[in-house]
Each structure stands twice: as C-alpha cells, then as structure tokens.
C-alpha cells in the first residue's frame, strides 16, 4: 500500500518543472558511497492483509477485558464511556498539531484551557500546564523545578521510598547529569507511609523538596499535613504525586500546602494500552508559574473583542529560551489530555465521586474477604483507598501463576520485584470494573491454591 497519490504523468511533469530527469537526481548531495542503501525489509501489503496480520498478533495477548484483573501499581483498568472514544477520534482533534495558529485551533486551545482548569479543580492548585508525557516524567520535571525554585542554591531532594519505584527511577535518570543529591526516605513498616522521623532527620537548609505519593505506592494515605509542615519548616518545597481517582474522595494536596502536584491521568478513562500513551498532570502555585515546564493556554480577546485562547507564557519554553528553558518538552500528550477533559466532563462531579466510592468499597470488600483466609493479612495499618498490600503465606509470583493458569485470573503485583524486603507481599487493586462475582472468584481461587499451608487451627 502506498499513500503517494501522483500518477506517473504527474511525476514526470513535476520532475520536468524542477529540471531533473529522475527523482534520484534530487539526491546528488548525499555522498555516493552511502546513497540509496538496500534495506533488508519485506515488501508491503494491502489494508486487508495488514488487518489479518495484526489481528493475529492482537489475539496472542490476553486482555483485562476478558480476564478479571487485580493489577494496579500505577496503571488501572477503568470504564471508558462510549462517547469518549467517539469524540476523541474526530479528525479535527486527532489530526491537528500543536495550536501554533490560534485562529484555526480554538478547539484544541479551549480544550487545553478546560483541561488546565479541571486539573486545578481536582488537585486544589492554582495553575496547571497542558500535560506532560506521563505521571513519572511529570514527577521528574517537578523535582527539577523544585531545585530551580531555589535558584539552584538547594540541590538536595528527599524522595519517599513509598513513591512508585519506576517513578523514583525516572527522577534519578532525569537528575543524573545535574548536581542533585537524591536522598531516599524509608517508609514506616507499621503503616506503610513515609517515615516522618526519617524526614525530620534528613531535612536541612540545602533541601529543595520533599517528594511523596498520595495515596502512596502501597495504597496508604500519606499524612500530607504533617509532611508539608516539615518541609516548609526548612523553606523547601512540597511535591506530591497524586492518584486522580482517589482525589474524588480525598482532600486535595493543594489543601495541605503542596507547591507542585503531579499525577498520572490514565485512570481518568484512558485504556491501559500496555503502558502508554498516558498523560502527566502538572499543577503548581501561581507564584511559581514562570518556572513551570510545558505548554500553557491562556484566555484573551481577538481584535473584535471576542473571547479566545492562545498558547502563552512561552518565554519559559525551549523554542524561545533554548538552553535557558524550563524543560526541553515540546510534543506533549495533548490528545490524552483531551480524553481526560472529555471524561471528567462526562462523569462530572457526581460520577468521579461514584468511581472513587466504587473503588474504595470494592477494594475494601476484597481486602476483608482475602484477609479472612488463613495466612493472609493486611501488610499495613491505616486507611487506604483502592489499593492495598497483603502479606501472603506463599510467594505472590507462584500465586499469580496459579491464578492465571488454572483460573484465567490476572492477579496482583509482587512487591518483592521492587522491594526485596517485602517478600511475600502482594499489592492488589479493585475498580468499578471488578464485579463482586470476580472478587469472589479470586478469593475462592486463592483459598483453593494447593500450595497453601495447612490451616493452623
């Protein structure tokens, strides 16, 4: 298949107009010894053949749509209303690019403005950008921004080990070329939240920021009030990576004085897609806006006085400021931000609370049923929202394999993968997609695991 529409006659006419005989003559500027290499690739195919080839590849994957899934750990299976897909795939949104020409991009610009507003409403912050790549890079950019906010006089960053392990890796990757000191803060083994005493001990006048997750990687709710006071006490900044669905229920980080709030937006109606594309949410205080990375849309008027939207405050960005820019980001996740905007509009105030509540009660039902089994108990004390860790009498990896092979159930996340000290700890989640029957099936399957230790009673 080709998407080059010229007929042979048209090609010849164009070559003649240019004044060359063959199309190859347009490449005389390429060194002859490397020009037109042979590509060791197969020939193309028609759309029908492609549909068949890729349908076969897709069929080699087991989906969470057809198998009960209790995996979360930073990516969650949620309901996507039909209208979302329908609206998102309108070519006017989908095949446009960055709104450099506002007169013919008001659709995208207004969506960005609405997205920024929704992110502020959800997080309790003043201002948000037009999106980052995902939750992890949003957090890494927040870490770099926190250092900039101190005019790079402070370069010490405290990061809780209860932050998603892959997010911590990304923060480390982003800061490796800079003179930044990353100080890991352990979590409290009793309640699974950031160890407040360890924070207190690690704070000093060089500390630029404290970075925590809310609820954290284990699903536990961090004491944001206390943590915020501690970091502000030494004049540092408070950076919170939040779960947007939990914010349907929980006090937003803005209420606790957070300086920067980031989030992975995937939970807001975006399919799992094996990890991407997702969308990073990024919000901060108005007084910090000039250090914020990424694009931002603002409201203005046209020459006839009508309201309109434009990209603004671009003096922070790479195409204007080059090496002095707040980030190198250019292309972001605009379409996924559009999806989030449609989702939050469609479910609205009532619906997001409902989603959060469904997650909360289903996760607690799962936890309560599972911990009624011998040898299974909650790993941590204190409240959680939609995700929790349980101690298991057998290795979670074996349990997951058994659940998949004998019951077709996709189990939980084996915490030992990222926390060697958390052997036999299993991270599970439930959302509105897990019907009670699926939860019951999981618990019964676990109860029937032949490797379970004999009941102690």
């Amino acid at each position: 298949m080709r998407y080059t529409p010229h007929t042979e006659a048209e090609r010849q006419a164009m070559l003649k107009a240019i004044g060359v005989e063959r199309i190859e003559d347009l490449f005389a500027d390429i060194p002859a010894q490397v020009r037109f290499p042979s590509l060791d690739l197969p020939e193309g195919m028609s759309e029908l053949e492609a549909q068949r080839l890729f349908a076969a590849l897709a069929a080699e994957n087991a989906t969470v749509a057809t198998h009960p899934c209790f995996l979360g750990a930073g990516a969650y299976y949620h309901f996507t209303p039909a209208l979302l897909t329908h609206l998102l795939f309108r070519g006017e949104f989908y095949t446009a690019y960055t709104p450099y020409q506002p007169e013919i991009s008001q659709g995208t610009l207004q969506v960005i403005f609405e997205f920024q507003t929704l992110v502020c409403q959800l997080t309790g912050m003043d201002v948000a950008n037009a999106s980052m790549y995902d939750g992890s890079t949003a957090l890494a950019e927040a870490a770099l921004m926190a250092v900039r906010l101190t005019r790079s006089r402070r370069t010490r960053l405290l990061i809780s080990e209860a932050v998603h392990p892959e997010y911590r890796d990304v923060v480390a990757t982003y800061s490796q070329g800079m003179d930044i000191e990353l100080v890991p803060i352990p979590f409290d083994r009793r309640n699974g939240t950031t160890d407040v005493e360890a924070v207190r001990a690690a704070l000093n006048e060089h500390t630029a920021a404290l970075i925590v997750q809310y609820p954290n990687f284990f699903g536990q709710i961090e004491p944001l009030g206390q943590l915020g006071e501690l970091i502000h006490g030494v004049g540092g900044h408070f950076v919170v990576s939040a779960d947007p669905v939990a914010l349907g229920l929980l006090k937003p980080p803005g209420d606790f004085g957070a300086d920067i709030v980031t989030a992975e937006g995937q939970s807001l109606g975006i399919p799992l897609m094996y990890g991407g594309p997702y969308v990073g949410l990024f919000a901060t205080r108005m007084k910090h806006v000039r250090q914020m990375p990424g694009r931002v849309a603002g409201q203005t008027v046209d020459i006839e006085g009508r309201r309109g939207f434009v990209l603004t405050l671009q003096a922070r960005e790479q195409h204007i400021r080059r090496e002095k820019a707040t980030s190198n980001i250019c292309t972001n996740e605009a379409l996924i931000a559009t999806a989030v905007t449609i989702y939050l509009s469609a479910v609205g105030r009532h619906g997001l609370r409902q989603v959060a509540n469904l997650c909360y009660h289903k996760a607690h039902y799962l936890a309560q049923r599972l911990t009624a089994l011998d040898g299974y108990e909650l790993a941590f004390e204190g409240p959680f929202v939609r995700e929790f860790a349980v101690r298991t009498p057998v290795p979670p990896a074996e349990l997951n394999r058994y659940l998949w092979e004998t019951h077709g159930i996709i189990g939980g996340y084996d915490l030992e993968r990222a926390y060697p000290e958390l052997k036999n700890h299993w991270l599970l989640t439930a959302t509105e997609m897990n019907a009670r029957a699926d939860i019951d099936r999981l618990v019964e399957a676990v109860a029937g695991y032949p490797g379970s230790p004999a009941p102690s009673r």
Binding site: N61, A96, E103, G177, G276, T300, E304, E323, C330
Partner: protein, 489 residues
Amino acid sequence: MPNTYGFVPREPLIFEHSVPGRRGVELPPLDVPEAELPPEEYLRDELPLPEVSETDVVRHFTRLSQLNFAVDIGFYPLGSCTMKYNPKVNDAIANLAGFLHLHPYQDETTVQGILRLMYELQAWLGEIAGLPAVTLQPSAGAHGELTGVLIIHAYHTSKGRRRHVILVPDSAHGTNPATVAMVGYRTVSIPTGADGNMDLDALKAALNEDVAGLMITNPSTLGLFEEHILEVAEAIHSVDGLIYMDGANMNAMVGVAKPGDLGMDILHYNLHKTFSVPHGGGGPGAGATAVRADLARFLPVPVVAKEGDRYYLDYDRPESIGRVRAFYGNVNNMVRGYVYMRMLGREGLEDMSRTAVLNANYIRVQLQDLYDLPYDRICKHEVVFSGKRQAKKGVRTLDIAKRLIDFGIHPPTIYFPLIVEEALMIEPTETESKATLDHFIAVMRRIAEEAEIDPDTVRSAPHVTPVRRLDEARAARRPVLRWTPEGAS
C-alpha cells in the same frame, strides 16, 4: 442571551454549561457491602467539577472540534512537523482489544503478541537507521533527545571522564540546547555557512577534549542535507565525541541514506512524523532512539528481547542510563507506526522519502521567483523561504501565514529556523497530490501579488475564521490560565 450566530461555531466553556445537580454518565450501583470511610479529616468537602448531561458533552466537544483545522480537513505544510495523511487503518488496528486492554505488568507469557510487535519494530527501526540497538521508551522527540544525550553522558562516564560541552548548530530546534542543559552540559553554537552547511572550520575550531559530542539535524532545519557530514563525523570522533542525530527530518532519509553509514552514533525517530501517527493536537508522539551496537549497553531499561521463540523484557542491563519513563513507552502509537511501516514495506518506504523530496522541490522551483530563497540548492523534504522581499513592502511573514488561512491552507512554520530572516518553512509531505501543491503555489503567488498591490488585505488576515487575530501580549501580561466561577465572562 440567545445564540444569534446560527451555524458559525461559538462555544462556551464546559463550566458555563454546568447546572448544579445535573448528571452525565452513570456508573453501576455498588454490588458489595459498604465499608467504613476514612476519618473525616481525610475527606474532601467539595469536588468542583462540571455538572452536565451526556448531550451537553457530545455537543460541546463536537462544536469545539469544528473550531480546529486538521490534516483530515486540508493541506497542513507545517515545516518540521511532517503533517502527512494518517491512514485510518492504523487506528482501527491500534484499537483492537488485544492491544488496547493490556496491563503493563501482565505476565510476559500473556502479552507475547505485543512484545513481538515491539521487538519487530525495534528491528525495522534499527535497519532503517543502520544503528541496530533500539529503545522504544521515549515518549516524543525531545524525550528521545534526552535519552540520547544521557547516553553520551554515560559513554564518557564509562571512560572515567567528565566533559562539559555539546556542540549544536545555530539552525537547531530549541529542544536541542534545552536537552543539553537538562543533562548538565553547556551548549556551544556552531554557525551555518553561506552554503547552508554547518561551518566546518568553526566546528574544528570548537573541538577539544572537553567536547562530549554534537547534536545535528540532518537534513538540517533549512531542509538541506549536510554535505560535509562524513567530515563532520570524522572530526567529532577524532576527540572521541559522539554524534547525536535529531531525526525530526527522517521523512527525507528512509532508504536514502542510513544515519549509521553517515557516521551518526545515536538517532531518535519521531514515529508520529515519519511513520504517520496522528499528532493529536500536540501529542502523544513516540520517540524511539537507535544507537550503535556498542552503545546498546547504555539504553534505558527494559529493552524488548527474544530468546528462542519467547519475547521478554530485559532488565539485566547494569550500565543502562535507567528508565526515562514508567513502563515501556507510548505502546499504542508504536502499533500505529508499525502498521504503517508494514503496509508500505521496503519499496513503499523508499517511495515515501523520495516523493516527499520531490514535492518540496516542486514547490521550491515554483515560488523562488517571488519569494527569497536564502540557500539556492536542491532541498530535501522541506523548503525554507524568506519573506524579506514582502517585509520591505510592510507585509510580514506572519501576515502571509494568516492570509493562507483565508484560502483554507494551514500556514507553514514561521520565523524558524532563527537564522533565516522572516522564515517560511514549508513541508508538503509525500501524501499530497499535485493538485493540492498547485493550489498552494497559486495561493502563495497571489499573496505575493497582494503584498504589492493590496497589502492591507494581507495584513488584516485572516478574515473568515471563528476568531480573528488574538491579543497575545494581553494573554501574557495578565495571564488567565483557568476558569473560575468569579471570573466567569
């Protein structure tokens, strides 16, 4: 106020449609016993999201979409962005349940299909680049740049040294120097010579043992192939520096020359440009990065690998720069790009780049008598004119761009590259017909004529758009970056 605009699209903010108590999409009722909620001090009082009906939502976003221009509507020759047609089959396949509903932490045995797709895509990108080791993790071009410069950093660190400088030509995208800064390097800018190539003498003069590498865009942002690329590579390698090639312009290069053969060490692709992933109003993209075989050890973890007939995620890479994002990248966009590559195949991909270059040169020869051509030679996939002849008459490049809108054409990239006065950067892409190109040429010729005889019409353009020129100074001076109930207008 009743709407008096008829079918001229004009749309309030979603928040202005909100009515307390109105509901949109309903979720199912709770089917498990209620648990006790966390203590009051954890819970939020209000959730200030909009309250609208499903009909409101569908009409709101449909109307908003109608305020946009897009590739599906018309010609979009936005230089450097490769706004080619996006085949619908890419999306049909990417939306198969077997690609859409996969959790990134599913056991590898349950996702062999997607892992195989990613593995094969790595191989195709490696073959086209002549750089065999590929990571698919970067989310966009600039993210690929960051990955590449971190690899340069890791390379020198592995040799036990710290260097401080990266050379960047003055024609480069802003992302290049911004990336250099993010990895703690200093940018030294290399000027462009009168022939549009990087100034080789200036490059050699800037070389020393503190130079970690060079970032180069080839073809350059002038749309010109760097004719001394082999000498440039030799010079950088003479101080054991690495060359990072910005692949923004790979649409000119597929089957034309392999960057690896040109002496490039690292290359990022923009799958959304070269391989037709829709641009989505500004993203998401996908920024795969390819490197020389001996640099493979520095790639981000994990890399998709194969053992026997089993595909898996390889995390055992001790010299890796680490992750550049969570999970494995914009996987669903990899599906789109790979579908495009498979459908075109070898011959189709070769035809793609050759035709892109044909189209750009056709525009070049048809407009060079009316618009100033700063570098008069064969171009690659895009052509850069200067509007300085028109500017002398008081019609600036911005005005020409806005006037194009009146003829249903998206303006080219303007005022970039920075080294061309009043720049107009035109990238037609290979998917446009001769008829479309001829229409564009005719319109550009007419605007040149208007600049002479009726400049006011050009300066006051656009005339038939939902809004007219917007006050950008006001937006920046008094930033209104979100809606608030108090500020409702």
